[in-house]
Every structure is written in C-alpha cells, then in structure tokens.
C-alpha cells in the first residue's frame, strides 16, 4: 500500500527542484567573487516563460513540440520510482531500476530528436555530444545499481535504498563510498554541469545541453528547464539515498534529511563549478570511463568479498 509520506515527499521534491540550479549558481558566484543571480531565479524564469508566447522554426514538426512534455513526463515518472522518503517509492516493482534509467533515456531521446528537428548545425552538434556522453555515463549508473543490488539483495530501488543499505554501510563502506563518488560524477554528466558541460556558457560551439534547446521558447522552454531541474533533484535524491540511508529515521526527519541533502548536493555541484573549468570535449569520455571504473571497482569489492 502506498504510504502518504511517499506522496507528500514527492510533492516536496517537485516544489524545491528549481531551487537546486539556483543554489549551485549562487555557490559558484560566491566562490568566484561575484554576487550572482538570486537563488530563486529559476522560479522567476519559469513564471515569466509560462506567460510568454512560443516561437517555432518552420522546419520543425510535432516532435519539437512534444519533446518538452516528454522531458517532464519522464523525469516525473523516474521520480515516482525513487524512494524519496527513504522507505518506499510511489511505484515499486522488481527491476524498477531498469525502468528508472530507461525512462530518463526516453526523455533524452525525445530532446535529442527535437534538437535534430530544427535542422540546425548547432543543435545537431549538441545532440551528438549529448548522446555520446550519456552513452558513457550509462554503464557507470548500472554498475552502481548492480552493486547496490548485490549489497541489499533487492532488485527494486525501494529495497536498494531501504533498511538493508543501512546495515550494508557497516559491511562494505568502501564499496558504497566508491558508488557515491561514481554516482556524483554521473550526476554531473547527466545534468550537464561542469566539468562535462557548462550551463553558463553562451558560445554555441562549446555547449551541449544548452545548445539543444536553443530554438525552444516560451512555455516549452519552461518545461525543459523544469524537467532538467527535476532530473537533477532525482539524481541528487539517489546520491543522498546512498549516503544517508533514512529508513530508520522518523518520517518528518527523513524528509528533512532529503531536503538538506539535496541542498548540500546542489552546493557541491556549485563548488565543482567554482573551482574547475569545463574539460575539453575529447577528455569527457575519459572522465566518464573513470566513473564506470570506480563503479566496477565497487562491484568487484562486493563480488569477491
């Protein structure tokens, strides 16, 4: 039976998701000695875009207009599968971890097609980079999941991040630490943050995620921005889930721990952006292979325990 806490924690995440990119930007600005945009900037942007009219390229088809919906729908679907309250997700079943990863892939596929739908070289370039880097991120994510499966004996995200994970920390802290690092690297790549992508860049040739959405405008752009923020929150929730197993905590505390954890993840993303530059594109696959190797190392540690 679905507990109500799962519902309202999901609601909480849906509301605070746009806060995270703002926090990351603020941290970065602070570190680089600037004032930066308000933390709530994304909320203002979304409000403004919501009231605007859209502009479409004459080249585009329905794919371009459906993709923003797909981005939000898939991120929302993925959020329903993650045990946000630390106990149970809204929807859980054996093997839901595969559904989680592939739902996000569906959103990415829609966005990449929308980029190609415009017929623009820039957006084609961004699409190409997006699929390249996500290809390298996928094995890292799955190896991390596989390790959690081995440690907890559960094939469902709710079990993998449940009480069994708490006891697993006692046995295999090293493996879990490796997974947490690998997951953080995947989070940076999947959410188009430094050092893989730079959300602040305004030179089309160097962008990845931003350049795909170059032609989107109005409420559609708002949907994409919100969907991206939600995706960051969902990945952040996974990271918090590994680091802080909350199944034993009382309910309000668990939700508070999630919110606090998400804030810390956003600040960590901001710190990374503040202290280092974007990698050369050719180095990015190496960065992501490193994430896979860390996750594989964790899997080996657990397999040959």
């Amino acid at each position: 039976m679905t507990s109500w806490t799962a519902v309202w924690t999901l609601g909480l995440v849906l509301v605070i998701a746009p806060l995270l990119p703002g926090l990351a930007t603020k941290t970065k600005s602070w570190l680089t000695g600037r004032r930066g945009a308000p933390v709530l900037q994304l909320y203002f942007d979304l409000g403004k875009l919501w009231r605007k009219r859209s502009t479409y390229s004459r080249t585009t088809t329905w794919v371009f207009r459906l993709a923003p919906v797909a981005v939000v729908a898939t991120a929302l679907g993925a959020a329903c599968l993650v045990p946000l309250d630390g106990r149970q997700s809204l929807l859980r079943f054996t093997g839901d971890l595969v559904a989680f990863a592939y739902l996000l892939a569906l959103g990415r596929f829609a966005l990449v097609l929308a980029g190609l739908d415009t017929g623009s070289s820039f957006e084609g370039m961004g699409s190409s980079r997006e699929v390249t880097f996500s290809t390298f991120a996928e094995p890292a994510l799955f190896l991390g999941f596989a390790t959690l499966v081995l440690l907890t004996g559960s094939l469902s995200l709710s079990g993998m991040f449940g009480e069994a994970l708490f006891t697993a920390w006692g046995r295999s802290a090293a493996a879990l630490a490796l997974i947490a690092i690998s997951l953080f690297l995947v989070l940076l790549a999947e959410n188009a943050r430094v050092p893989v992508d730079d959300p602040a860049t305004h030179l089309e040739l160097t962008m990845i995620h931003e350049v795909i959405v170059l032609d989107h405008s109005g409420p559609e752009l708002g949907l994409i921005l919100y969907g991206s923020a939600l995706k960051l929150a969902v990945f952040g929730a996974l990271l918090v889930g590994v680091l802080v197993p909350r199944a034993a905590l009382p309910q309000p505390l668990a939700a508070g721990a999630l919110a606090g954890g998400l804030v810390l993840v956003a600040i960590a993303v901001g710190v990374v952006e503040g202290v280092m530059a974007r990698l050369r594109l050719i180095r990015v696959p190496q960065f992501l292979v490193a994430a896979s190797v860390l996750a594989a190392l964790a899997t080996f540690l657990v397999l040959w325990r």
């Binding site: 054996t94 559904a99 415009t118």
Partner: protein, 655 residues
C-alpha cells in the same frame, strides 16, 4: 497438426498461384494474399492452442521407410512461440511484399519472387516444428536456398551478386557444422529423432557437439565474428525479404541453440560463458558498427547483430543458470531471450518495412542524402519512430520488457554463491549497448526524417499506399500492446523458459512471482508516461489556441539564410562516439580542411574472411588443372583409384 500442414500447403499454394497467374495482376495479388493469410492462420491454430491451452506438444511422425530415418514433426511450447513469429510476422512481410514488388513488374517477373517467399516461409515453419534430424536439415537447407534466391532478386547489380555469394558460402559452412553435429550426436544416441537425441547422455566429448552447434546456429543467427554475411545479404534483398531474414530467419539460429539446450539437459558452464561472451561481443560491436554505416538498410542489418547479442546475453545467462543450478537465473535468462526474439521480430520487420517505404518513395538508401521526410511521410515516420523507440529498449514499448528480463537474469545471478555471480558485470555491457543504440537511432530518425531534405529526391518523397502502411501499422500496434501490457507476454515466456531449463515454475514461485506482478508495474509506468504525454499535448494545444505562436526560421546565431546543406550530417553526428571507440569501431576517417568522411569497414569480412578466401582460391587455382573436362583423363583417374584400392586390399590381406 493437420491444421499446421494444411496451412503449409496453403502457403505453398498461394505462392504457386502468384506465379501461375502472373499474367493477370490483380487476380494474382488477391488470390495470393487470401491464400497466404488463410495458410498462416491455419498454421497458427495449433501454435496458439499450445501456447494458450498450455497443452503439451502435439506431434506427428511417420515412416521408418522415409529417407534418413523417422520424419517427425511436433509443436511444443518452444516450437509454438517461434511458429507464431514465423507465421505471424512472416505473413505481414509477405503481404507488404505485394505492394513493394508491384513497381518491379516493369522490369522482371514478380510472381516467382512471391513463390520463393512462400517457400521460404514454409521452410522456416518446418524448421521450427521438425522433431528429427532429417526433416530439420532438409527444411534448413530449403530455407537457406530460397533465401539466397531472394537475396539475388536484383541480380543485375554486381554488389547484390557478391552479397548473395558470401551468404551462400557462409550458410553452407553453417549447414556443414550442423550435419557434423547431428551425425556425432545421433551416433551416440543411436537414433536421429529429437526425442532419441534428448535421451542420450552426452559423453565427455559432447564438447564437440556443443561447439558445432554454436558455430552452425551461430552463423545463422549472425553472432560476431560469424556475422560477416549478414549486413550484405540483408541490405541487398528486397525490403520485405530483409524484414523476413532479419526478423525471422536469423531467429532459427536462436531456436536451434535453445533446442539444443533443452535436449542436452544440463549444458556445461564453459558453454554458457562462451555464449555470454559472444553475446556481449555481438551486442557492443553490432551497434557500434551500425553507428558507422551510411546505408539505411546496412545500418538496420548491423542492429540485428546487436539484438542477437542481447538475445544471446539472455541465452548465456540462462545456460549458466542451468550449469550452476540456479533455476531462477536460468528461467529469467531464457525468458528474456525468447521474448526479445519475438520483440525483435516485430520491431526489426517494422523498421525494414519503413526503410523500404523510404526507399520506394525516394530511391535513396544513403542516410546523408535524406531528410525532412517526417512532413512528407507522416505515418511512415510514426511507424519508424515506434520501431526506433522499441529497438532502443525504451518504455513504453516492447523492447523494454525483454531487456528488463535480461537485466534481471544478470542481476539475480549476482545473488548466487557460485561463479555465475560474475555474470552481473554483463549489465554494464547491456547498458552500453542501450546507450549506443539510442545514439544510433537518434541519428537515423533525426537525419532521415527530421530537418530539411538534403536532396531533390528526398524532397519529393510521398506517403506510400495502404499496402505499405497497414502491415507496418499492425507491427507497430503489436509493439505497443506488448509494451503496455507486458503481463500477456511475460507469463507465457516464463513457462516456455521453464520448459527449456527443465525447472518447475511452482518451486520457483518466490523468485518469479514478483516478476509476474512487476509486469503490471511496467504497465503502470508505461501507461502513466503515455497518459502524461497525452495530457501534456492536449494542454499545449489549448495553450497554442489561446496565444498563437510565431513561426520563423531556425536560429542560426543571427544568420538568416540557412540551407539544408548546413545541417548536421549523420557522419558528423556519429563521429565523437566512433572516435572514442577508436579502431574497434571499424571506420576509416578522412579529413580535409573542408570535408569529413567516414568509411565503414567490416573488420571480420574485410580483415579475415576475404583474405582467407583469397588464399583458398589460390590453392584451388593450383589444383584446378586436375579437372579440365577431357573424358579420357577422367577414365584414367578412375582406373588409377581402382588400382590404388586393389593394392590397399591386397596389402591388407597379406598382413
């Protein structure tokens, strides 16, 4: 079984009618379509009865006097599911062929091609129902030969003839391996029916049988490195034949492997590891090489190799589960393999039919010369998109369900104490395959259908007729049904997998019960996403009505005159990934200041097979003078051999 043979007879009769009536086009087409549909329906009756009724096998065998021992046919659950693939998906390809071949009437006789297609279909149906060595091999050979004749349909092109020759040579090497396998096995078993083979316990040298099975069936399935015949043959054949070969024929190789596993009862672990490794190799390399292709049909052919890899990951996990006595892993692995076989038949046929529609509409197969077809062929695009999402393995379509089963087999393997737990690392390969497939179909969909047309011919592409669209619609619908209601598929394939693994599903209830229930969870997720998409779309339309949008040019950084040639090309799209994988990607790149070209090479065909073939033909040239057509020297050979034999006998008598 009577219904089955009636169906086969009707299918052959349909082909014969198409051939004999070819003077009267419309009559021939309608008789052909009706008889073929009736035949497939009749043939499906016993298969569906086995699958739905849950009855055991129905069988028929006759004649000790028949050549090669007893000829037995039967349908058990494994045969039944493959029969559904052969006749169900096969029929749609055959019907599509009527519309597809119609424009060819001006150049050549089309009736014979229809006849061959029907023979091909009947042969495949017999392959999966044969229960004895002799009828199996006869049907196998008939399948190979009819497929060859169909591949060289457009035999005025040298490239087509070459692809046909490579296919013919390769398939016979495979057939040879199978003859050797059955001969060895049958000798040990003392009988050549499958039930006799199943009763025999293989001696230690059973390794020979299993290795030969892997070569013989592996060649047909197209696993790396035995795939070299596949891309050429599938690309050269008419599109509906490509659909049949890629969707159905290569699956008979998978059927063979599964049949061998179920007969051997307890495959050794090394074999399971071999299949798993080959599966990973085929999956990763298949999709990587697909990414490098410029020809739409060759690209789809390489994706068949990738999907065979995914199926073999399931078969390998299943075989390991059998070897290490982990029945839950075995059942999940085989179930994933069987379901992916069915799914791949659906979406790969769909994609080939879509590619055929594009080819007929534009006359172009080169991806970089197409573009903008989504506006000109909207329904073909929808069908192709459904096929693409399904083949990547994304929800809410069927490919996701079978990959989900394979993932579970690998992950569940991780719980074991035995070495099978190492198989859990296979999830990384499966994830990589998924990522690469997404990249590849983003490239195909984006460059072929979206953007602006890159050539005048692409600009003139128009939606094909209902004869093309209806078979595609049925296939797309089937993909959606299995994707949205996986329960209807998961339960039956688990039962089939149980029978292959020789495990009783009742005792596995604790492990498999959650999987059956989880199928409904997938329905919720997939249905939920579809619902959200629909709601979002309706909302967006309402919004658009209230504030009419502005239409303008694509943003090009202030440049206002973009041309179609400025669009990103498929070659550029794939370049970063191919570059990252280096030489393994099988692509030669050529860079000039103003241009970037990539040339795909098949590493196995051009690196190994053809050089080896050149050596063989050099040796053959050397001994060629032995056969020159002069009768008296031939008589001399006979006398010589006779003398040698007599000498041998005489020497034998003396000792």
């Amino acid at each position: 079984m009577t219904a089955f043979f009636l169906g086969i007879a009707l299918i052959v009769a349909a082909g014969a009618a198409a051939w004999l009536l070819q003077g009267r086009t419309r009559l021939a087409d309608s008789v052909f379509a009706t008889l073929a549909a009736l035949g497939c329906a009749a043939g499906l009756v016993p298969a569906v009865a086995v699958l739905v009724g849950g009855r055991g096998s129905v069988g028929l065998s006759w004649g000790m006097g028949a050549p090669g021992g007893t000829w037995a046919f039967g349908i058990d659950s494994l045969s039944a599911v493959f029969l559904v693939v052969v006749l169900g998906v096969g029929l749609l390809n055959v019907l599509y062929g009527i519309a597809y071949l119609a424009p060819e009437r001006a150049h050549r006789a089309v009736g014979s091609a229809h006849f061959l297609t029907c023979l091909f279909l009947a042969a495949m149906a017999l392959v999966v129902t044969a229960q004895a060595t002799m009828p199996f091999l006869v049907a196998w050979e008939l399948m190979a030969l009819t497929a060859y004749l169909l591949v060289v349909f457009e035999d005025e092109q040298a490239e087509v003839r070459r692809a046909g020759l490579v296919y013919l040579a390769a398939t016979h090497v495979g057939a040879l391996a199978l003859v050797a396998m059955f001969a060895l096995w049958g000798t040990w078993a003392g009988g050549f029916t499958f039930s006799a083979l199943g009763r025999a316990s293989l001696p230690a040298s059973g390794a020979a049988v299993l290795s030969l099975a892997l070569v013989g069936f592996g060649l047909k399935a197209g696993l790396v490195p035995l795939h070299f015949w596949l891309p050429g043959a599938h690309a050269s054949a008419p599109s509906h034949v490509s659909g049949l070969m890629s969707g159905v024929m290569i699956k008979t190789g998978i059927y063979g492997l599964l049949r061998v596993i179920s007969l051997v009862r307890g495959v050794p672990a090394w074999w399971g590891w071999a299949v798993l490794t080959l599966g990973i190799l085929s999956g990763v390399l298949g999709v990587l090489w697909a990414l490098a292709q410029h020809d739409l049909k060759r690209l789809l052919a390489y994706h068949s190799i990738e999907n065979i890899g995914i199926i073999l990951l399931g078969v390998g996990a299943g075989a390991l589960g059998v070897a290490y006595r982990e029945p839950a892993v075995a059942v999940l692995g085989f179930a994933g393999a069987v379901l992916h076989t069915v799914n791949h038949a659906l979406f790969k046929s769909l994609l080939f039919l879509g590619a055929g529609a594009v080819f007929r509409a534009t006359g172009i197969r080169v991806i970089d010369r197409l573009g903008g077809l989504a506006r000109r062929m909207p329904w073909t695009w929808v069908a192709f998109l459904v096929g693409s999402v399904a083949i990547i393995g994304l929800p809410p379509l069927n490919g996701f369900v079978s990959e989900w089963l394979v993932y579970q087999a690998l992950l569940r393997g991780g719980f074991a104490v035995s070495p099978v737990r190492v198989a859990v690392l296979g999830v990384a390969a499966l994830a990589l395959i998924g990522g690469l497939a997404l990249a590849c179909f983003a490239k195909v969909g984006g460059v072929v259908f979206l953007g602006e047309p890159r050539s005048a011919a692409a600009d003139e592409g128009r939606e094909p007729t209902a004869g093309y669209l209806l078979p595609m619609a049925v296939l797309a619908l089937a993909c959606a049904v299995i994707g949205l209601l996986p329960s209807i598929a998961v339960q039956p394939v688990l039962a089939i997998a149980g029978s292959i693994a020789g495990a009783s599903l009742e005792t596995l209830q604790p492990a498999l019960g959650p999987v059956v229930r989880a199928a409904w969870g997938i329905s919720l997720v997939s249905g939920g996403v579809v619902l959200l998409l629909t709601v979002g779309w309706v909302w967006r339309r309402a919004l658009e009505r209230r504030r009419s949008p502005t239409w303008s040019e694509t943003w090009a950084c202030g440049y206002v005159g973009p041309t179609p040639r400025m669009q990103y090309t498929a070659a550029s799209f794939a370049a970063p990934l191919l570059q990252a994988f280096g030489r393994v990607a099988g692509v030669r790149t050529e860079r000039t200041p103003a241009a970037f070209h990539t040339h795909p090479v098949d590493l196995v065909l051009e690196g190994v097979v053809l050089p080896a073939w050149r050596h063989v033909s050099r040796v053959a040239e050397a001994i060629r003078p032995v056969q020159h057509g002069r009768l008296h020297t031939y008589l001399l050979y006979i006398v010589g051999v006779l003398l040698a034999l007599l000498l041998y006998l005489w020497l034998g008598a003396r000792t």
